[in-house]
């Protein structure tokens, strides 16, 4: 029976060997290797049934994986990572609830043009469509909220799809791309052939973004600039996405054209640049909004004329000729009729604009006028004898960090105060949920930002309500000692909702005053984090200094005045020239 025994052993050996090669070359292994080939250093995710094979491959061929405590936390962290690093954020989640928990983050990334590549597990192909356990039609669900999405139906398509996904997410107008991987694809054997090799060139005839500007349009723009008496530049996030800050500065200084930013465009130019007049829009500065209303030439670079920026379109930049530079042709003329459309990458367009040796317009009078406006009508607040004002809190943070920190926010009052009072010195240091306005975004986004920039000081300015939407990610600070500084501007209310109720609903504070709150300091301590509480302006400076300059993760619960409002304000339906709450 010896021989028989040997045969069995040989067979065992053989099957063990086969098992090994199979595992080396199954769909999951191909996926993880492809991520490495794409240069992915960090992935954000959460395991589950349908992605077990993928997590097994990750175990064998490790990439730094950040286990968020909720898929929404994972995707917002990936967004923060993408915004700060410029590289695609990578997310892995399981089928069904894992995938649907990503929906808010995907939409947020779509609205704010952030590059994400999202991998979701899916039930095996054999049971798709049978309402299997944890099955959700994530392709159908995410079709309108992704730049593109794929379901892998053949293992041979996997390398190509991953490559295309990264390409689509990180070129043209950036955006989220989702790849749905059925469980059987993740375990299918992958046999390399010439057709399915990862190094075949990308062939996407339907996706050819225009990056080079049209020469004649550039000429027209330069000519209009020369003719203009009151030119103005509106700088959007497109400048940051294109890494065009240097060209932008050169162009602005060459022609001495004043600049205003959109919310997402902040950081495209130094916050204290003499030609910069702050953020425009619903809570923009008086000088920025007046500049838009009175300019005779508006050069929009990489902004999309969002309604929170424009206010009433009938009253928007009525006297201005509009030049619009955007990488997405669909944005041009969408909201504001445009005389000179330029479809291009902001960097390429600015390079061409600088090249032209047309003489500069004489803007001195115009600039002096705006400077006088900025001096006469600055951002302001009425100091309170007893309570700390949220604006003061942001000013403390700015002073202590000298404007060099990376700041992340949610949406609402605290976001506007941060935008108004934290003048950024650097590009890609501002991470905020603009288009979608997502509560719960800021804190996990700060975690992603810190992972992308371990050396930077990252401060997450959040409201007490938004913070509680993703507060479970405190675990990540505890686990990895990620030195994010969480500053809660705690007014015990849903501040912006309350402000609107005060202004437009006769102070009927319907469900906007939070009756009960956790003790945020104790909450942080439960996660083994150092925490502080600030109750007055007198102690603020000292505590902020100690907390913000520490190398550890900290949480600061700032008790600020509840009934403080964000001003100036352009009421909905009003024009930018109809601001209320400007300093008298």
């Amino acid at each position: 029976m010896n021989t028989g025994g040997r045969t069995v052993n040989v067979l065992k050996e053989k099957s063990k060997h086969e098992e090994q090669t199979r595992q080396l070359n199954d769909g999951s292994a191909v996926l993880i290797q492809a991520l490495k080939d794409q240069g992915v250093e960090t992935v954000f995710g959460y395991p589950g049934g349908a992605v077990l094979p993928i997590y097994d491959a990750l175990y064998k061929n490790p990439i730094t994986h950040i286990l968020a405590r909720h898929e929404q936390g994972a995707i917002h962290a990936a967004e923060g990572y993408a915004r700060v690093s410029g590289k695609p954020g990578v997310v892995i989640a399981t089928s069904g609830p894992g995938a649907t928990n990503l929906v808010t983050g995907i939409t947020d990334a779509m609205m704010d043009s952030l590059p994400l590549v999202i991998f979701t597990g899916q039930v095996a192909q054999g049971v798709i469509g049978t309402d299997a356990f944890q099955e959700a039609d994530i392709i159908g669900i995410t079709q309108p909220i992704t730049k593109h999405n794929y379901q892998v139906t053949d293992i041979n398509d996997l390398p190509r799809i991953i490559k295309e996904a990264f390409h689509i997410a990180s070129t043209g107008r950036r955006g989220p791309v989702l790849v749905d991987i059925p469980k059987n694809i993740a375990t299918d054997l992958f046999e390399p052939t010439e057709e399915n090799a990862a190094d075949t060139a990308i062939d996407l005839p339907g996706y050819q973004p225009t990056t080079q500007p049209n020469f004649l349009q550039i000429q027209k723009a330069v000519h209009s600039l020369k003719e203009a008496k009151k030119p103005l530049i509106l700088g959007g996030a497109g400048i940051l996405h294109a890494q065009a800050m240097d060209e932008f500065k050169t162009f602005v200084e060459k022609h001495r054209v004043p600049v205003v930013n959109t919310l997402l465009g902040l950081g495209g130019i130094h916050g204290e640049h003499e030609l910069f007049f702050g953020m425009a829009g619903m809570h923009g500065t008086c000088s920025a909004n007046t500049a838009i209303s009175e300019c005779d030439l508006l050069i929009n670079i990489g902004a999309r004329f969002d309604d929170r920026l424009t206010g009433n379109l009938q009253r928007f930049a009525q006297n201005a000729k509009i030049v619009h530079i955007d990488i997405d042709p669909a944005e041009i003329g969408k909201n504001v009729p445009t005389e000179i459309p330029i479809v291009a990458d902001a960097k390429e367009a600015l390079k061409e604009l600088i090249k032209h040796q047309e003489e500069s317009p004489d803007t001195e009078e115009w600039v002096a006028y705006l400077k006088q406006l900025a001096y006469d009508y600055p951002l302001w607040y009425k100091e309170d004898e007893k309570e700390l004002l949220p604006q003061q809190a942001v000013q403390h943070i700015h002073r202590i960090t000298k404007g060099d920190a990376i700041v992340t926010t949610d949406v609402g009052q605290h976001q506007m105060w941060a935008a108004q009072y934290y003048q950024l010195n650097n590009p890609d240091h501002w991470v905020t949920s603009g288009g979608l306005g997502t509560m719960g975004f800021g804190f996990p986004a700060a975690i992603g930002a810190q992972l992308a920039r371990p050396d930077a000081r990252v401060i997450s300015i959040v409201g007490d309500a938004g913070f509680q939407m993703t507060a479970q990610e405190l675990s990540l600070l505890q686990e990895f000692r990620i030195p994010v500084k969480v500053v809660i501007l705690n007014n015990g209310s849903l501040g912006m909702v309350r402000q609107w109720q005060q202004t437009f609903y006769e102070e009927r504070y319907s469900e906007s005053l939070v009756p009960v709150q956790p003790d945020f300091v104790k909450l942080a301590e439960a996660y083994d984090l150092k925490a502080y509480r600030i109750d007055s302006n007198d102690e603020a400076e000292e505590i902020f200094r100690e907390a913000l300059l520490s190398d550890e993760p900290v949480l600061i619960d700032c008790r600020v005045k509840q009934l403080e409002n964000v001003y100036p304000m352009v009421a909905p339906g009003k024009g930018l020239d109809e601001m209320i709450g400007v300093k008298a």
């Binding site: 079709q143 309108p144 339907g206 997405d328 669909a330």
Partner: protein
């Protein structure tokens, strides 16, 4: 105003959903839609008829469609000279003594009878949507039992109308 939009797409699962989803998101009402293969393998072509009055809205939808990765080409061919055809099948009540009358009525439309029963007859008629409408109006008094239409498909004519002054001996 009724607009005719043709969309050339890569024939992949979900692409129809993608295109109609975009139209839905922007609150377009699709009057008709046809899809089929083209002369190029792997490519399909869709023809939409939509009712839109706002110029900016139609420009926006064309641009949004163009942005889709699976969409190769989008054309608003409303203003061009086009060949457009639609097919309709119409089952009409038709007792034997009425048939010859009906046949003479439908003859100018070159409708053909493709099925008959004891008291019904099924016509097939092709043409542009206006012709189909006219045919239906004409045949309606006889009693339509069932009606189905394919929706219009179209492409531009080889030779486009040119804005030229006509030579005339009267001038």
């Amino acid at each position: 105003m009724r607009r005719v939009i043709t969309v050339t797409v890569i024939n992949q699962s979900g692409v129809l959903n993608r295109v109609t989803g975009l139209l839905m998101k922007r609150q377009f009402n699709i009057e008709s839609i046809t899809v089929g293969h083209t002369e190029q393998p792997g490519m399909s072509k869709m023809t939409f008829l939509v009712n839109v009055d706002d110029e900016r809205k139609i420009e926006q939808i064309v641009k949004q469609l163009q942005k889709q990765i699976d969409v190769i080409k989008v054309d608003d061919i409303t203003e061009k000279s086009v060949v457009m055809r639609e097919l309709a099948l119409i089952k009409v009540i038709s007792p034997p003594h009425m048939r010859s009358e009906m046949n003479s009525v439908v003859e100018p439309f070159r409708a053909t009878i493709i099925d008959t029963g004891k008291n019904v007859v099924t016509y097939q008629v092709t043409g542009n949507p206006e012709k189909i409408e006219a045919f239906i109006d004409l045949i309606k008094p006889y009693g339509i039992k069932e009606l189905t239409r394919t929706g219009a498909t179209a492409f531009v004519r080889e030779k486009q109308k040119q804005e030229k002054e006509h030579l005339s001996i009267l001038k």
